[in-house]
């Protein structure tokens, strides 16, 4: 219930600013007399996916010897096939553009089917080892499978999971390249994360240019830059890190912010600025350490950098307001 909006709807209706056809419904919603449970049902369906997938995982683990690997693989395969067949029947015809939601549960049945296929593939790989020593390749196949489903059924969620799987295939974790926030990353992981990030951004841009699911572009772009900045930040904890890397982080952050600002992509502006601030802080810390200036100088540098970030944000916001 929102009494301020109720008052506004009444006032706007009285002087004819609101169309009479919609005013009563707007008032009911604002007064809390009409409530949508759509998001709650979606959350319940998502919870159902999480719990079911966890249950199937335990089923496989606990009952392997009793049921036998073939039975388990076939059972999971059958359920996932059922989900995907239902999805295919419900789906709107394929288009390179955006499609409308056909059923409240559509995204979640698709997600459950895709995850069960991935579980089945991982299980088959574990028990029957068809890929042998190249077993991490199953992540590549899962990523490609997710991507195919994402394009066919217009699912940003599966596109995001596809990028995650492909990054995992290269050994890169999604939200942060390492397991703990202060864990340093080695050379191989650093370059793998950078490559995955750049490829993700490139895929996003390519889709946008080719007008093939252009609305997937933000997923690739944000995912990619998250990996790139995560790689640099993780790298800054490593002994082998060097000042040129901090400088590259500063420059990359500044450039991403600048171009994102031109496109009014506020989330990306903030991400770039945060990266640039981290790079600046790392450079300052190196300089203070090499000149042996002490902890007060380190703290003072944090104050100055924070003040700089706030000042830049203030100016950026002003410029955005002026453009509006």
């Amino acid at each position: 219930m929102n009494p301020d909006v109720v008052r506004a709807v009444e006032a706007l209706s009285r002087d004819g600013s609101l169309p009479q056809a919609v005013a009563p419904r707007l008032r009911r919603v604002a007064a809390g007399a009409l409530v949508s449970v759509r998001d709650e049902l979606r959350a319940l369906l998502y919870l159902g996916v999480l719990v079911t997938v966890a249950g199937v995982g335990l089923l496989v683990k606990d009952n392997l010897s009793r049921l036998g690997p073939v039975t388990i693989a076939v059972a999971i395969g059958a359920v996932s096939a059922g989900c995907l067949v239902w999805t295919n029947r419900q789906a709107a015809p394929f288009t390179w553009g955006e499609t409308k939601e056909t059923h409240l549960a559509f995204d979640y049945v698709l997600l459950l089917g895709a995850l069960l296929v991935a579980t089945d593939l991982a299980f088959i790989e574990t028990k029957f080892t068809p890929l042998g020593a190249s077993w991490p390749w199953h992540l590549f196949f899962v990523g490609v499978f997710y991507a195919a489903l994402a394009f066919r059924f217009d699912s940003k969620t599966l596109f995001s999971l596809s990028l995650t799987s492909l990054a995992a295939w290269r050994g890169v974790r999604v939200w942060f390249p390492v397991r703990n926030w202060d864990e340093a990353i080695d050379d191989r992981l650093f370059y793998e994360a950078l490559a995955c990030g750049i490829v993700s951004v490139a895929i996003g841009k390519l889709l946008e240019r080719a007008r093939r699911k252009p609305h997937f572009e933000p997923v690739g772009t944000y995912f990619g830059w998250l990996l790139v900045f995560g790689a640099f930040v993780g790298r800054s904890f490593a002994d082998a890190s060097s000042w040129p890397q901090s400088l590259v982080l500063l420059a990359t952050g500044a450039l991403v912010s600048w171009f994102a600002f031109e496109e009014r992509r506020i989330g990306l502006v903030a991400m770039g600025l945060a990266g640039a601030a981290w790079g600046t802080g790392d450079l300052a810390e190196r300089a203070i350490h090499s000149l042996d200036l002490g902890e007060k100088s380190s703290i003072a540098s944090i104050v100055v950098i924070a003040a700089g970030v706030v000042a830049i944000l203030h100016r950026a916001n002003r410029a955005l307001e002026a453009r509006r």
């Binding site: 219930m1 506004a8 600013s17 609101l18 009911r28 604002a30 007399a33 409530v35 949508s36 449970v37 759509r38 049902l41 319940l44 369906l45 998502y46 919870l47 996916v49 999480l50 997938v53 966890a54 199937v56 995982g57 606990d62 549960a105 895709a114 296929v117 991935a118 579980t119 593939l121 991982a122 790989e125 574990t126 020593a133 991490p136 199953h138 992540l139 899962v142 997710y146 940003k156 969620t157 999971l161 995650t164 995992a168 295939w169 050994g171 974790r173 939200w175 997923v219 506020i266 989330g267 903030a270 601030a277 007060k296 003072a300 104050v303 924070a306 944000l313 203030h314 916001n317 955005l320």
Partner: protein, 386 residues
């Protein structure tokens, strides 16, 4: 709260609602522009991500500045001097917040929100240092009072959350802390539910009331849950776990309450059309079923989880069908139609949540075998590899 700030918040509510109406194509651009002009904004606001970054930068910078001042001016001083220093910094932060919100007319800008948090933090530290012997009760009570005062003055729901947590910890320290939690929760639910609907209160105060309501429901459920009673979770909050067991009648009462509380909270949420109560009622139902399974493990875990997942699907789809088949696609004021909720923000949250919870992790270089559980390689909770 300052009257001009409250008025700006009310106007912001109307503009946000109008933008959602436009997204749902209930009104056209001309109407939206007319509404935006009529309920014009007189505040300086930041876009969401700039606001978050500005808040984090201000908070880190503010803490660093305070530490720097301590190191330069008051190094090696006694607690009383340190208390005075923190009090001065708290006053400066308060003045800065007031100056930004009133004179500079800032709102949702991150910076003034961070200085408000710093003011509360430093004021609490100043009081804690001033009191001899660091009595936890006095510090918790002071923190609660300061958070309540800050929440009332500036309206940020974060202070409502902090006040709820510190207030609950304070109550838990009394001899009958669990009983006080329950009584406090009931009183809080009664007051907060009304406050959340009050026309008189500013929008941010109504949001704070919803935070109080949710906190009270959680605290109340923790007070009566049988598992929580047996494990003395409330008492453990303050490190005062009793060595003796609970009387049989208390355990019986807790068993009955564990079964009934989710239904009562759900019913309350449905009847009063309160989303927090509905969501928490559903979560309490899951918690009560987990409690039941803890004492009576009637099904294997995998089957319980799979049936639980299937039940969640069945309930969701049954509710959807029941509401969709009603005349006008609504029953008792409920519908499954999206009612003026921006689709884009929901989509971003969904993609992020799914990727974070279900995205596969890279394969480990050693070990292996099948590992169930969310977010392991293979997606869907599976890690392959010899």
């Amino acid at each position: 709260m300052n009257a001009a700030v409250a008025e700006a918040e009310r106007r912001q509510e109307v503009r946000e609602a109008a933008t959602a109406w436009r997204d749902a194509e209930a009104i056209d651009d001309v109407t939206l522009r007319a509404i935006v002009a009529r309920y014009a904004d007189d505040r300086v606001r930041f876009a969401l991500w700039l606001r978050i970054l500005a808040g984090v930068a201000t908070f880190i910078g503010g803490v660093a500045l305070a530490v720097l001042v301590v190191l330069i001016l008051w190094a090696n001083s006694d607690p009383a001097t340190n208390s005075l220093e923190f009090a001065i910094v708290a006053v400066i932060s308060t003045i800065a917040t007031e100056w930004m919100t009133r004179s500079k007319r800032r709102a949702q800008g991150g910076i003034e929100e961070a200085t408000a948090v710093l003011a509360v933090l430093f004021a609490t530290v100043a009081v804690a240092l001033q009191i001899r012997g660091f009595p936890i009760n006095a510090i918790l009570l002071t923190a609660t009072a300061i958070c309540l005062a800050a929440g009332w003055r500036w309206g940020y729901p974060l202070f409502a959350l902090a006040a709820t947590i510190s207030g609950a910890c304070w109550l838990a320290r009394f001899p009958h802390g669990r009983t006080l939690w329950l009584l406090g929760s009931i009183a809080n639910v009664y007051i907060a539910e009304r406050a959340a609907r009050s026309e008189r209160l500013a929008p941010s105060h109504r949001r704070s009331a919803r935070v109080f309501l949710a906190g009270a429901l959680v605290a109340g459920y923790l007070a009566i849950n049988l598992w929580s009673v047996d494990e003395s979770y409330v008492e453990a909050v303050v490190g005062d776990r009793p060595t003796h067991g609970w009387p049989a009648w208390i355990r019986l009462a807790a068993s009955v309450a564990t079964a009934l509380a989710p239904i009562v909270v759900l019913a309350f949420g449905v009847v009063r059309k309160n989303r927090e109560a509905r969501v928490l009622g559903a979560l309490f139902l899951v918690a009560s079923l987990a409690t039941l399974r803890h004492y009576r493990p009637i099904l294997p875990t995998w089957l319980a989880l799979t049936l639980g997942g299937a039940a969640a699907w069945a309930i969701a789809l049954a509710i959807k069908r029941w509401l969709d088949n009603a005349p006008g696609r609504e029953r008792y004021g409920y519908t499954t139609d999206p009612l003026f909720v921006p689709r884009r923000s929901r989509e971003i949250a969904e993609v992020a949540a799914v990727t974070a919870s279900l995205g596969p992790a890279p394969p480990r270089t050693s070990g292996g075998g099948f590992q169930p559980g969310g977010g392991v390689s293979g997606g869907g909770g599976a890690a392959g590899g010899p």
